[in-house]
């Protein structure tokens, strides 16, 4: 009897460690990525709002990064359109206002993803707790 129980406990422990916890790790990784994207979108949104507010349609000067903290001055003549990465390395030209709409929609979508991931993570954690409880039960009985 006791041997069966200990074997079962062992199996459950393996399940927790090798399956549930690994899944949890994956979920957290994805969540971090989504959060990163969201932050970037928020930054972009701020930039767009600034451009719209400042009415920079006639162009402006900026410092362009060359990498490794080397900068060179760049003049932007046409500030009416902006190219935004829409995924998989593709850039789409937007007007500033439509860009703003795009950013909002995309961030809403990411929020949804984030919620789902949070749900998954919670579910996973609950499962782990359940299995741990089961193990405890087995040890008692």
């Amino acid at each position: 009897m006791t041997r069966d129980v200990s074997e079962k406990i062992h199996k459950y422990e393996i399940f927790i460690n090798d399956v549930l916890k690994e899944d949890l790790k994956k979920i957290h990784f994805l969540r971090d990525k989504v959060l990163h994207d969201l932050a970037e979108l928020g930054q972009l949104k701020n930039t767009l709002e600034t451009y719209i507010d400042m009415d920079l349609e006639n162009g402006f000067k900026s410092q362009m990064s060359l990498g490794c903290d080397f900068y060179v001055q760049a003049n932007i003549n046409d500030a009416r359109t902006i190219f935004i990465d829409i995924g998989l390395g593709h850039y789409l030209e937007f007007s500033l206002k439509s860009a703003l709409i795009y950013v909002e929609k995309r961030s809403a979508m990411l929020q949804k993803q984030l919620q789902k991931l949070a749900q998954d993570s919670a579910d996973n954690k609950a499962t782990i707790k359940l299995v741990l409880g089961g193990i405890q039960e087995l040890q008692k009985g």
Partner: protein, 425 residues
Amino acid sequence: MLLCEEGGIEPLNPLSFFKLIPVLVVNPIVKMHDVGNASVNYPQLLHQTYNEALLRNELAQKHWQKLKEEYMTLESFLNDLPKELSKDVMVPVAPRALMRGKIAHSNEILVCLGQGYFVKRSAIQAVEICKRREKICSDMLESLEKERNLFIGRQELPLQQDAFGGVREIIEEYNEEEETHWKAEHKKKEREYRQKLAELRTKEKTAVVDEESLWQRLDELELQEELEEELDRLHAEESDMEEEEDEEGEEEDDEEEEKGNERDTKKEGMQSEKDLPKEEMHAKCPSLGRRVSFAALAGDENEDEELRIEFHHSNVSPPDPTRSEIIQSPAELYLHFKNVFLTEPKSILKKTSSYENSFDNTFGEDSHGEVTEYESAVDLSSPTPPPPPPIREEVVERVTNVSSSTPAADRPVSRFKALRQQKKR
């Protein structure tokens, strides 16, 4: 400090520069485990520790490699940039967002020096900065490679040398019984030794106490002293002899050996014959001849070491060069075939006047058939006289005939000589 920020990818504070250098830290948890449990798997611990260090090292290497590549691409870009006055580019205005734009001043580069300080440089100057930073990267990579090799060596060597394997302990067993036994034995031995020592001392004392024995002892000492003196004198003479013998090179080595033996045997003799009366000792003492002393003593002391060379004269008489039928040297030709040669050969040696004067008459008497300066053919015509004995019984004074030595008129004579001879007449 120049490299405090990594371009564009992720900012690094100056401290991270040091963090990147892997430090070998033993996991404290493992350490505690080590203390608590005596049977720790040391090889595994070593392996684990160095694996961690190697992993850190690898990450650092990757980081610096990446940085170096970035600087290289930047350098090539900066080389191309000032070739044009302006350039159409897509300017990144936000993450993942670009705008159409133009690079305005292609030869003005703003370079971050860290800590929020920027300098404006020309493209060429910026390239130089790039190169310097590239060099720092390569140096760092080099030292990281060295560190990697060091770690690998440290990881492998103890296993190769079997540092954890056959541990041998030196065990000295302590047996109380044996120890006590040994101590008792030791005491006994020590006591015996001390007793012997005491006996010896008492013996000496008694020997000296007796008056007769005292005188005997004094006599002995006197004798010894004399012998030593003798020996010293002998040695001094021997050294003289050695100098002489230097001339006869062949014998020297043998004689050196002999002398060595001689001294040894003498010393032995001295010690063994201390108690003999003085006269006898003198008789035994070697005379000052070269080899006799040694031979005599050696014969007495150790016969088996003696070397004797015996030889006999053969019956054959030694060859007489003048009488022998066989011609042994070219000079003898003239002796054997005198009738064939009308004149004796001329010498290749230069004639000197003094030589001629003094010898030309005497040669008739002591001719050994050698090639001489002899000029006249007087002897050649006459039969060979019997060769004179090598040593004459009586010494006869030479009569020099001056007139006969006068050279013939046709012979060339030096002017001075002629003058001298005229004066004599």
